[in-house]
């Protein structure tokens, strides 16, 4: 089967090569010399800052995106008129399928010196720096990944039987309580899927910190680009990449466990 061969040669094999390289050494001129050493892994603390930024901003970005997305998904699934629903939903998804590079660099305008800071100057707030700060990166993250978060939550909310809410209110439950005890638990699968998708993509993010972090706020992805394309230290770069994938897999597995427990042993908390 050609597809299986292709997937194997182009996916499984290269990933194995990364693991092999991570135990090697850097050649004097850049590149790689075969070896079996843990030196690259021992050297990981040299890139601690990148891991720290990623491990703070990726979960934070996921949470903020979730908080921003939930009300919109709720509105689309429950409050919006059915006539407008499809159109509004498409409007959420469209940006996600267009180039994230272009959508992200637009924020250089908005957050840059002539954008929001200039508007704020008219209000008497001077010398506010937005671009090249963790805040800018966070805005970029929420902007870029909001659609991916809205969609799964919408799907889980849309499926749910609204008569349950009527039942709750008939039984004398105030709306906020019905939300906490009925709507929210039923939407957990969507929340889990959305958060996981966003989190996975954020762990490998390069563009948003590169464009909006200005070299000050960098992720593991930026360290990888530096190691592979600038300093050409492939052995160390491979160790960083392997560590990134391991950290990601561990976090995702733990998160899935947690979600499965909170949603009462349901099996549908998954990607597909």
């Amino acid at each position: 089967m050609p597809a299986a061969a292709w997937l194997f040669v182009m996916l499984a094999l290269p990933l194995l090569v990364v693991v092999v390289f991570s135990f090697g050494e850097r050649a004097a001129a850049g590149g790689y010399v075969p070896a079996f050493t843990f030196a690259q892994y021992a050297n990981l603390p040299a890139r601690w800052a990148a891991f720290k930024n990623t491990l703070i901003l990726a979960p934070l970005g996921t949470i903020v995106a979730l908080l921003a997305a939930y009300p919109l998904a709720y509105y689309l699934a429950i409050k919006a008129s059915p006539r407008l629903r499809t159109g509004l939903l498409i409007l959420v998804i469209v940006p996600f399928w267009t180039s994230i590079l272009i959508r992200t660099y637009a924020w250089i305008y908005i957050l840059g010196g002539r954008g929001i800071p200039e508007l704020l100057e008219h209000l008497g707030i001077d010398d506010l720096r937005l671009i090249n700060t963790p805040f800018a990166v966070l805005v970029g993250i929420v902007y870029g990944y909001l659609p991916l978060m809205v969609f799964p939550i919408y799907v889980s909310l849309e499926k749910f039987d609204q008569r349950l809410l009527e039942a709750a209110s008939d039984l004398g439950s105030p709306p906020w309580r019905a939300f906490l005890q009925v709507t929210l638990p039923l939407s957990i699968p969507g929340v889990a899927t959305g958060s996981m998708l966003v989190f996975i993509l954020l762990m490998g993010e390069f563009l948003i910190p590169a464009l909006l972090g200005g070299g000050k706020v960098f992720f593991v992805g930026n360290a990888l680009v530096d190691l592979f394309l600038q300093s050409r230290n492939w052995a160390f770069g491979s160790a960083v990449a392997a560590t990134l994938v391991i950290v990601m897999l561990v976090t995702v597995t733990l998160y899935m466990r947690l979600m499965r427990r909170t949603s009462g042993q349901r099996d549908d908390v998954g990607l597909f």
Partner: protein, 272 residues
């Protein structure tokens, strides 16, 4: 709630609107709007670097989309008959292709191909049968771009076509077999018409993905420049109205392809 939804839509679309607006800027400075003009579109399209990058992107995206939809469809069809461990391994590979961050896929492809070429090029030279003509050298460029993009998008096509196959009415195939149709005739007259919208949608999404991809291409493009790579390196030197014009065109291309693919996927409901 409605107000919040409206605010989110503004948040999603304002940056895109700003890029489109500034691409029509008559002035030469990126952040000073001085009236409407389409001059930057003309400049962008007569810039040889832009045209080169655009050509590369189009060739890579078209080849990727053809290969991915062909092999992806074949794989999805073959997977119907496969059960047991082979199926599990294949599913796991598709899962990995979608889960592993793009940046790691880029890195893995880069070092695997460079290593393979180092080994293959002397071999190719040794067995090259034509005297006088030098053997072709395998290099990072079109080949690696297409290989990496196909790997990634093929997984996408498999998922889409498989979903369509799962929703197909099996009794039609059985009826066709009962009427003594050969398997090929059944495939051409029953299966293919039913899954063709999904294949086309997969084709268009693969094209869009490949055309918009930055991070994988950044690693494996070698001496080639795709349009996103050109845009990224230009932004580093400062945002110009020309980049905005290019960005607007890229957004328009993905938008058109997205609309067509959605129309195709939706066709199944009236096709029955």
């Amino acid at each position: 709630m409605r107000l919040y939804a409206a605010a989110v839509y503004i948040f999603l679309y304002a940056p895109i609107a700003i890029i489109v607006l500034f691409s029509f800027n008559a002035g030469r400075h990126a952040s000073d709007f001085q009236g409407f003009s389409a001059q930057w579109y003309g400049r962008a399209l007569s810039n040889p670097f832009v045209v080169d990058a655009l050509t590369t992107s189009l060739i890579v995206a078209a080849t990727t989309a053809i290969l991915a939809s062909l092999f992806g469809t074949m794989a999805a069809l073959a997977l119907q008959q496969v059960r047991g461990p082979v199926r599990a391994v294949f599913d796991a590979m598709i899962y990995v292709a979608i889960m592993v961050p793009g940046i790691v896929i880029g890195i893995a492809t880069l070092i695997a191909l460079v290593t393979a070429f180092k080994f293959l090029n002397p071999l190719l030279e040794a067995v090259w049968p034509f005297e006088g003509a030098t053997a072709p050298r395998l290099n990072m460029g079109y080949l690696s771009l297409i290989a990496a993009h196909t790997m990634f998008t093929m997984a996408l096509v498999i998922v889409i076509v498989r979903a369509r196959l799962a929703g197909m009415d099996r009794s039609l195939i059985e009826a066709s077999a009962d009427l003594y149709a050969t398997p090929w005739a059944t495939f051409r007259q029953i299966t293919l018409p039913q899954i063709s919208p999904a294949i086309l949608a997969g084709f268009l999404l693969s094209f869009t993905f490949s055309f918009d991809d930055f991070i994988i291409a950044f690693f494996v493009a070698g001496s080639q420049t795709t349009l996103p790579i050109y845009i990224f390196s230009s932004i580093r030197r400062g945002v110009t109205p020309e980049i905005n014009a290019i960005g607007t065109m890229v957004l328009a291309v993905s938008l058109v392809l997205l609309v067509v693919s959605q129309v195709m996927l939706r066709k199944r409901t009236n096709g029955k």
